[in-house]
Symmetry: none
Subunit: 209 residues, 4 copies
Amino acid sequence: MCSRTSSRSRTGRPRSAEADAAILDATRAALVELGWSKLTMGDVATRAGVAKTTLYRRWASKNELVVDAVAVLFDELELPDRGSLAADIEGVVRQFAALLERPEAKTALMAVVAESTRDEPLRQRIRASIVERQKRLVLQGRRRAQERGELPPPAPDSGPSSGTDDLIFDVVAGAVVHRALVSAEPVDADWAQRFTALLLGGLAAATQG
Amino acid sequence: MCSRTSSRSRTGRPRSAEADAAILDATRAALVELGWSKLTMGDVATRAGVAKTTLYRRWASKNELVVDAVAVLFDELELPDRGSLAADIEGVVRQFAALLERPEAKTALMAVVAESTRDEPLRQRIRASIVERQKRLVLQGRRRAQERGELPPPAPDSGPSSGTDDLIFDVVAGAVVHRALVSAEPVDADWAQRFTALLLGGLAAATQG
Amino acid sequence: MCSRTSSRSRTGRPRSAEADAAILDATRAALVELGWSKLTMGDVATRAGVAKTTLYRRWASKNELVVDAVAVLFDELELPDRGSLAADIEGVVRQFAALLERPEAKTALMAVVAESTRDEPLRQRIRASIVERQKRLVLQGRRRAQERGELPPPAPDSGPSSGTDDLIFDVVAGAVVHRALVSAEPVDADWAQRFTALLLGGLAAATQG
Amino acid sequence: MCSRTSSRSRTGRPRSAEADAAILDATRAALVELGWSKLTMGDVATRAGVAKTTLYRRWASKNELVVDAVAVLFDELELPDRGSLAADIEGVVRQFAALLERPEAKTALMAVVAESTRDEPLRQRIRASIVERQKRLVLQGRRRAQERGELPPPAPDSGPSSGTDDLIFDVVAGAVVHRALVSAEPVDADWAQRFTALLLGGLAAATQG
DNA sequence: CTATAAGCGAGACGGTACGTCGCGTCTTAAT
DNA sequence: ATTAAGACGCGACGTACCGTCTCGCTTATAG
């Protein structure tokens, strides 16, 4: 976020912590009301009751601001233990889908990813703030399934992550996003179940084969 | 595109067909050079050797223009018969990934989808111009696999499409897009193979179960 | 107006005479409704039920069109014999003032004169169409006063016009226009009387001195 | 000009006074080079080295801007005491005529008056900025002539101005403008002398009668 | 207890792009 | 050849945001 190096001068008026929160709240509110493309920095500043200079002192651009504003939504993602891998997958699918139904997430997520295709620093920020938060769930779910014995134990020389984790992540996140935003169809219980069955079947085949 | 109903007035100077082509070419060139967010209507008009008004007479907004400009890229997608369902899937995955590596597609696709979350007509346009073009390949691949006997024949009372087709489509397209644009990792032969194995395993399990 | 040389080709469809009248009527109507600066060629064409090309075939610019449209108003100016020079002057003053109260004249006259300061051909057109029509009244009034014996007879070697005529013309027309448009005060009977007294007094002094 | 009331907000960056001057200078320069009808706000802004928004923040329209730009020319008008009423009148006539020969005044004056026929606020602005500045000279000249005894002293109950002042003003200003801009003839020493003789004769007759 | 320094709200600033309007020209098919 | 219709290249419009700047003021720590 607005990183202040520790070696920074200690004199002068400190930045207002309330302003930070007000700005992020205002950003989410503006996303809900206006959507990504009609959100303006001036409007956010006005909503937050803050001067434009205050805003620019903290975030260099609309993209970074929105990433930070939306990132906290992804903190809510959790993986409560539902007893089986299938139930866990269905849970995370439904949870992610619920997130994507929130208008601020829906409009912002694809937009910042689109911007990130031509802005590497932004891509890093998205990865750190959003993507890793999601990926964590995949690792956690896999580990839990291995503990339950639903999946074979990890190869002893493998690190904390693996290519299969990446594959699963892209399949799960990609399918849900595509269903929700491109096909614009509901990610309901039925779809989640059918998707989970497909995924588990594939995993089983890969494990056995 | 700029559909002219057949009942349209016959009087007056007809619209230039060359202008249409020049504008779409210019739009793709601008996407490559500038990316979505820095593309301007004025710049496109200049590149196309056309007045701004001519551009606005045909497309109401940047969004619609870009959808039309990018849509033709999806005409190139084909499904040559590679002899097996696995090979066909790998083929379509690689083909779609190749498309997503083109800078004009990469920068435009997510952007217009993001916009479409708040613009239903735009979503319809995307569906008609882009999504259906992709989905066609899924149907074609499934039909071909059924002819080969790799998949059970269609239920006699089912229509040309099914819920499973939709599921497969979201999984394939979503996974490839997510891999390419969000994870920003290459969709290489290895990944395509592993993804195909996962998908086929899931399909087999679903068919047998 | 729209001069057609007599040696003009006789083939092809002849120009519509009705269109000419309709265009000039439409121009005056537009002047009344919109004023000079908001009058547009396209709007005049629409009002006249005529294509823009038809309009441009006859008049090269808005300025010329408006001069022609307004010029006919000045045909109404006459100098009925009221029995004395004073009465004649008052009459012409009131008549000219009445003309300047018509909104189409008010908005157009100063505007075209302003344009004519940088457009010599336009100035000539104004002179021929408008100014000479006014000046005629001065000559006529002077001649009539000389016939009545109110003014000394013309010098035998003088032409039909003189420097004094020009001076009188500028004073009368200038004062009325300034009163009506710049001071924006009514040219009522009282003012006309006081102005006439001033002018006649000056004429008498000049004649005697 | 752009009057700033004393109760104006004290916060925020104050407006640049230099910008005001630069804009008015640029406006006069553009009037000289291009004339009224080809003067554009964008061009003025560029010449002044100022953004278009800065210009619009101060003046709502081209009309008001031009009035302010031209108004300062009328500050130069003075009435040096030449010893007699006749000489004073000739002086003011020549001075006003000299002003009207400046291209920026010539092209702008009639144009804004024409616009003012449909724009009451503009008319007030012209009156305050330009007309009153001219009228002042008439009052001053009359007062001076009364001090000299060339004119009878003012009626004791009359205010600072009178209907006769207005009449004289319309006659002088109107005649000079008409001569210079409509008849487009030079206001030379001879014309000024003949005009002054006419006017003085009329005044004498009015005073005696 | 003052001096220094940064933060802050306000709003003017130089820019860039917008989407619209009017211009005057042109290309149709129909008189 | 002229007409109505309307597309065309062009240029200006007035507005909206951008990101920066200059104000006067506030709120901290350091001397």
